[in-house]
Symmetry: D2
Subunit: 398 residues, 4 copies
């Protein structure tokens, strides 16, 4: 890639992490509200560690900013070495937020020098750089999801930004986009079509056989989901997977995460604070178990990730909110594509080792950074997960 | 079906549960060694409850043997009603074993009367009867797996039967059965080909697209698995799925379940007691995580359930031990076939609601009752499960 | 002691364990309903192990009945060696009940031969023998408490004996037995007064200073305790110790153990089955936390173990139900008497090492074997314990 | 009390909390390293809440600073109302540290106005004020203990202050201070002797009977404790209480908290960072279980709290380090003194409800604020607790 444009890209992405942090107090960077979430300061440091580890350490004379950071800010790369335990990240009050910003600054300076070198591509490939930037974008979305979760634990209902992530509104009539013939379709990333980058789990391109089916033109709304609640959806085991029902009972779920019932109706905690539930907005912060139970109750099912990809590719104009609204749970287990090969070395730990016990989500959400998503993008989370910006697009058999 | 032959079948299957129990002491029927396992007396009662609930209760004048048994011996059918908590089954010392046999006897008498009625098919279909019998056969295998687990907790190393479940021996050379072309293949149960019965999860028949690949002619042996152990397989995270590695560490796994190292070498606890590990026998009692890690270490992978079904169907003579030795972990997540529809009513809870977080195993094992398995049979267990008679057949990409 | 009378005593105590087991089915010997309880067959074997370990193994030529029993039936004597994990005792279906009775028989034969030897006292002292017999009596009470707990887990409400442990009835008017002067009193076992035996924790005799106080002439009744319940006793944190309130909330306590509310009123599960609560009987199966909360609610307090001992010694005729009804929780923490010295060797592990985190109970219960209790006897259990036959005698300051 | 001096006292104590915080970064105020510890910002707010709740709310026209703080900063006073869950205090990033300081400032202004009122004693008694100040002093010590624990979780070994809490050094020869006669002694707080204030648990004065005994003139040193370690003290169950041994095994203890073995010897993490263990300093950060095991190994025992109080009162000059070095574990369970009466209302929850399952510590530590301790002071913690500045003074029977 052209040196200037890669340099620009690097600056833009890195800058966006700062933009996200503007409304925060120092205290907000420190706390970890659950093992699945991380403190903001950890996200800032870990994404920086990624560039230091996978780019700067290729330079023979590079001196790491701090010898302890290799362990402190390694997430899960066993090939790189030991990791500080994930569930204890909130106990690290040092390095301070100021020192983490300094760490970012130092790494950025070194990165900018590296990116300006004419021989840069012999040291660090475009692909590794883009992986680092896409990785940071994933953490940018996580910063917002984790922050929302953290703030939701505080009875003061802190407001991140009054204008944060406005909810789309005004639901259309539900229409079904139909595939009336069994068909062989090509799935997976194509560099000629889908932009300059993909993660390894979008590869290799391969063919699948799709049965006839139909997929909904829009997402399920809060209002529709409320009907499920009011019909006793959370009290009837027949709608649920066995593991889902066990979770409903163990956790006492009776509505999406962040919903609370008040005398005057349902409210929802958001990054803009506690607000009334908008019945026209797409339902958000539900688990796979809830998406699946809702679909069964509604007489449909969730789409497979292949049905989703083909429908969005071929009938995109008819499918609203494929991107930028809610991640859409699919019925597909997160598994390797046929003949998948993870990259060599530590970066091979990025995706492949998580291909077990997770469900694929497709599309993207209001919290996803610009140009991060793409048609072939595969997000994945365990089926009980609710703190992501996740919703429902229905499908059905024909 | 012909009344006599159904009556015969019923007697034969029910009798086999008794045969399994012959070597047992009364005490052995009572204990439950872990939540996933059940006491033998519970298996005997639950399989009887199944016939009472789904067959005899269709008779307008049927008087249940004991009003409390509906709850006590219901496993997980919410449609039928409440269930006694699964992990507490070992606390029920009453009804006694004698009383459970009496329960079986009473239900059997009523069932034999029912089966002899000329109008039987108007009351209970062949399919429900066969479901009950196949259900009992599944529990017959579970009785052996659960008993082995229970006995393994006892430092006295109790012997179930000196001649129990002899290990197959003498491994052949490994050969690969190749599928050198991408192909569309039909998957799932066909009544004309696969016998008179299948479970709902084997339906509907549907077509899949298979990539080129190869599948091993035989199972992985203890000797081969020992090489993985000796090569540090249980200490190197690179071979493992992330969830698998977490399990290895949390559980301290360093060999298959029931193996123990003694000064003179590796031993294995079996239904015939503690015996030296036979290097030529197929490895047994391993989890999906271990099967997957072994395959990665060995440079291969596990087959999908579709690859397995087609290979056994089309090249069965070349594939040893497809049945009757070890269940074979596949890489397939346990999911509904396209357009799957669970039956109406309580029997609809049999399979569908477990389609989450489990992996498919194909074939059958030394503990599977005769004529229970079939080509399209789908067994399924969570990936950390080890107490089943489960092993490895390798596959690889071409 | 005279050889004949020790022999008689031995036979009588050992026989009583058999008498307790008469109403049992084989299955009832096997199950363990919680880690604090043990299977009946374990009690029978462990009390036998005690004589084998501490008496028979003094004989130079003694051959243990089974080499594995030393570990299997050791409860907690680190000095003797390893122990099979306590919470897994219910998994041992072998040795069978029949084999455990055989074990008892063989040890009894050897013990009777030993007891008949003229030189017996040079091999095993009276004190060790009496410890073994008192130890067995403690387990005889535990057999009943553990059996009650086990049966309470069974929705069939099994009856141990229709006439088991009848509840005393007809409460007297409450009267206070007063100690109107501060006084120095001697506490602890005196062989001239309290019979031929005591446990080490009743020693040494020592003097304490008692403040003025009063102690109730009788136990708190079910009827009185019901008033506490109906007054919201289980919902008001002000009555409770902090740890007690946390337990009430975590466990959802709202009545004594084994009570259940039905439409027609309160019932209580007993060894005679499920029966209506008798308002005149002393309350039973309550924890220290509940005894303490009740006392605070009633405007009194629990007695110290010293107040109890002196009151029973000096005003015994005025204090009903000191023995043979309910163990009486005292406010005393279970601690060593001044200058306490545990015996040398393994028997020194009998009491001393448990002197932490437990409360003293005094008296005895309907489940305590005859002549086991005595004035200076100190029973002890953790404050959350409810499955013992424990009740309340009030005290107050003067 | 004279208005000026109470005002002075108030300012001095409140100021000390600020002094403690001087070396801290904002981040250090937020994190909670375990449920038993609290974030610094919580300590600062809670101690302020105490004055607001128990003093300012007596003023008819007082307007609370923030309506939500009543719940957020209530520790455990059920009488006052609900409490934010203790183990989630680290999730509250708002109010920020700045806002907590503002809260303190506002409450201080109101308190200073109140303290200056001539009718102050008709509104708030000296005793309540002194309780509030002593309460804040307890939290000042907790701030240091909690901070040490938090910093100990950070592999960067943060230094609180290079000169923090220097360790006393140079052990004297061990001498025994003997009480050679049984004696009646008066225990508990006397306003004429012990200063203007005590907590309710030091009352009422009462008489106890002390046996003959001896008590050590000084604390056990690190060097002596090392001998216990090197003698296998942590590997021999015979030294330990049963609950202690279970804790040693479950937690993997092999040295005091904060000790770590390096190639060059033992190190200890302190508020001044990681430093070599000083063999002459008193051992610190040990549990009751360890103190008790050490004493048994050393052939002695721990003193009772009465022996300690009388020895320090009557032979104080001979007993080094009674105050200002290490809290000294006693063998006494934390229990009410005879005829103890907790105060009416919410302040009655201060001490009484914790009198269960805890051991008394006497004296004070290097972290205790000046003039906070006194002869009759009773500190108390559960026996497994190690993060306090706790050590050992031996006693023995005579």
């Amino acid at each position: 890639m052209n040196a200037n444009s890669m340099l620009d890209l690097y600056k833009r992405v890195r800058q966006h992490s700062q933009t996200i942090c503007e409304p925060l107090q120092t205290e907000d960077y420190v706390a970890q509200s659950m093992p699945d979430a991380s403190p903001i300061r950890w996200h800032l440091a870990h994404t920086t560690w990624f560039f230091e580890t996978f780019c700067l350490k290729q330079l023979p004379d590079y001196e790491p900013v701090h010898p302890a950071f290799e362990v402190l800010f390694n997430s899960y790369y066993n090939t790189v070495g030991e990791q500080f335990p994930r569930h204890r990240r909130g106990l690290l009050t040092r390095p301070t937020v100021r020192e983490v910003w300094d760490y970012r600054e130092q790494v950025d300076q070194a990165m900018l020098r590296l990116l300006a070198r004419p021989d840069r591509e012999t040291i660090v490939s475009d692909d590794v750089l883009r992986t680092g930037l896409n990785h940071e974008q994933q953490h940018q979305e996580l910063m917002l999801t984790d922050l929302l979760h953290l703030f939701s634990c505080n009875p003061l209902h802190p407001v991140y930004r009054q204008d944060a992530l406005p909810q789309s509104s005004a639901a259309d009539a539900l229409r079904w986009v139909e595939a009336t013939k069994e068909q062989i379709q090509t799935i997976g990333y194509d560099p000629n079509l889908h932009g300059p980058f993909c993660f390894d789990n979008e590869l290799p391109q391969h063919r699948v056989l799709l049965p006839t089916h139909a997929i909904a033109n829009r997402l399920v709304t809060n209002g529709e989901y409320l009907q499920f609640i009011e019909d006793g959806g959370y009290r009837n085991p027949n709608h649920w997977l066995s593991a889902g029902w066990a979770t409903v009972q163990a956790e006492g779920w009776n509505a999406p995460l962040y919903w609370q019932k008040r005398d005057e109706g349902w409210y929802q905690f958001t990054l803009a604070g506690l607000i009334p539930v908008d019945v026209d907005a797409p339902v958000c912060h539900i688990s796979y178990f809830e998406a699946d139970a809702y679909a069964r109750w509604a007489g449909g099912r969730l789409p497979t990730e292949f049905e989703w990809e083909v429908a969005v590719r071929d009938s995109g104009s008819q499918l609203h909110d494929a991107f930028g609204s809610r991640w859409q749970w699919t019925s597909s287990d997160y598994a390797a594509y046929p003949k998948y090969n993870p990259p060599e070395g530590a970066i091979g730990e990025y995706n492949g080792k998580f291909m077990c016990g997770q469900k694929v989500l497709r599309g993207s959400s209001i919290a996803t950074p610009d140009w991060h998503a793409r048609l072939t993008y595969r997000n994945f989370f365990p089926p009980e997960t609710r703190w992501q910006f996740s919703g429902i697009r229905l499908a059905k058999d024909l």
